[in-house]
């Protein structure tokens, strides 16, 4: 289950980055990623500069490099296919240590790897400096459809409740001698999943009842108003704006 008070991704702190309003940070990360993605892949030095920029933000947020790198491992399965590209792509080929590789494949792999890694690093910094419920407030503030924000906030609230229910069902199955090895047991697992769905659905109905009883009429009441001053926006947007300068240089040089 969840460890301590906050979510595992969050790293408690009081840095200037932690203190920025969540919607500024969200907007900054989104703009940064868009800028990075639109940088020409041949401008390799630009990506190095982006990495330096992110490093500076992590430094201000007092996130240790080891923590950051460990969190970034999440990227590995997603970029695995990038490693294959130099081997399978067509076109001009070069010899690297006796292995024949495709030039366009190498560029493609570099493109995916560099942009992906920068995007993941930016997201990890965002997640470790912003609490989950703050992120939700930020999304709400950025006018994401309220229904999506509500769904996300219920996922946070009920994720653990449903995992716990699943665990109890597993224990009940095993207590009656069920062993989930082999394809023949999949039927039982499927039925458990169905039962879990029905239970969650019924819980949803009861929660809705409880919400209506407390005056819910289709939209969540505003409890915390998040506001940002010009200075806070300026500080948050410093990252994507410097990235934009790098990007423009990358296109002109």
């Amino acid at each position: 289950m969840g460890a301590g008070h906050a979510h595992r991704l969050y790293r408690h702190g009081h840095s200037p980055v932690h203190r920025l309003p969540p919607h500024c940070k969200l907007a900054a990360v989104l703009c940064f990623v868009v800028v990075v993605v639109s940088t020409p892949r041949e401008a390799m030095w630009a990506f190095a500069l982006y990495a330096v920029l992110l490093g500076a933000v992590a430094g201000v947020a007092r996130i240790p490099a080891g923590f950051l790198l460990k969190r970034m491992l999440i990227e590995v399965p997603f970029v695995a296919f990038a490693v294959l590209m130099p081997f399978v792509a067509q076109g001009e080929r070069v010899e690297v240590m006796g292995v024949s590789l495709s030039v366009s494949g190498l560029w493609g792999a570099w493109n995916v790897l560099a942009k992906g890694t920068l995007g993941v690093a930016a997201s990890v910094i965002l997640a470790s400096t912003t609490e989950l419920r703050e992120l939700l407030l930020g999304l709400q503030r950025l006018k994401l459809p309220p229904l999506l924000v509500q769904i996300a906030s219920f996922m946070i609230r009920y994720g653990d409740v449903i995992t716990d229910e699943m665990r109890r069902m597993r224990i009940a199955r095993e207590s009656r001698g069920f062993d989930s090895r082999g394809i023949r047991q999949w039927g039982v697992l499927g039925k458990s999943a169905g039962a879990l769905f029905i239970r969650s659905y019924e819980r949803g109905e009861r929660v809705h009842l409880a919400m209506m009883s407390r005056g819910y009429a289709g939209s969540m009441p505003v409890i915390d108003e998040v506001t940002a001053s010009r200075a806070q926006w300026a500080r948050a947007l410093a990252l994507p704006l410097s990235a934009l300068a790098v990007c423009l240089l990358g296109w002109t040089l």
Partner: protein, 252 residues
């Protein structure tokens, strides 16, 4: 107690579910301001159906429900839901926000309260149930007893006319039961407690109603009803082994 000042006045309430199953056959009851009343009844007696009528989740087939003089009707549902605070049986259903503070703030915020007033309301409600220091916790990191207390606070924050508790003692260990009893006794609010925990009803409520097969079959001092063996047996209400209501002093 006249009908105008009563916290809750239900008269001739009948209801049948859309599938035709009739759950209530003309329920009459009046609860005066500040009373603590237990609603007893076997499973399937219609207790939950009755509770859902009190704040207009279900609409009466015939008869009427009035809360502090205001009839339960579509045009003032918002005010009715503010006046009737229902604490549901499973606190995981009741506490649906990511943190205790937001959950307690939900009701008052839905009725338009903002800023420092809202904060004060949350603080007061959590203080009343002794959970003020847990304000920033997510509900799933609290013990069951703590969650039940926060569930009570979510409703108290709306400053209700009447507090309706559905099986408040279920799943609580004896210490949590006692703590909840102390909290409920300290509140200056009308309480309707739906339960089949008879000792708890005797401990908490001077007056009790028995609902059976969709009608109120008895209304009187809790101790008297529990001692009426014929009545109890007729409505599948059984005292726990070894419990004698005559041996309990409830005057204190």
């Amino acid at each position: 107690m006249d009908a105008v000042t009563a916290s809750l006045d239900v008269s001739g309430l009948a209801y049948a579910y859309p599938d035709g199953h009739q759950a209530l056959f003309g329920v009459d009851l009046v609860i005066g301001r500040g009373e603590r009343v237990a609603l007893l009844g076997p499973n399937g007696a219609g207790k939950t159906t009755l509770v859902l009528h009190l704040n207009g989740i279900l609409t009466a087939g015939s008869g009427s429900v009035t809360v502090a003089g205001l009839p339960v009707a579509r045009e003032h549902l918002a005010e009715i839901r503010r006046r009737v605070g229902i604490v549901f049986q499973d606190p995981d259903d009741q506490l649906f926000m990511p943190s205790v503070r937001e959950d307690v703030a939900f009701g008052p915020a839905a009725s338009g309260l903002r800023g420092p007033e809202l904060e004060a309301r949350v603080e007061k409600a959590l203080g009343q149930v002794g959970m003020a220091e847990y304000v920033d916790r997510p509900p799933h990191h609290l013990s069951f007893g703590q969650r039940r207390r926060v569930a009570v606070a979510t409703v108290l924050a709306m400053e209700p006319e009447i507090l309706v508790l559905d099986e408040p003692s279920s799943n609580l260990d004896p210490a949590s039961r006692r703590e909840l009893a102390e909290i409920l006794r300290s509140l200056d609010v009308t309480v309707l407690m739906v339960t089949h925990d008879l000792p708890y009803a005797l401990e908490m409520c001077p007056r009790a109603l028995v609902l059976s097969e969709g009608v109120i079959v008895a209304d009187g001092p809790t101790a008297e009803l529990l001692c009426d063996e014929g009545l109890m047996r007729a409505h599948r209400l059984e005292l726990p082994f070894g419990f004698d209501p005559r041996s309990v002093d409830t005057r204190s």
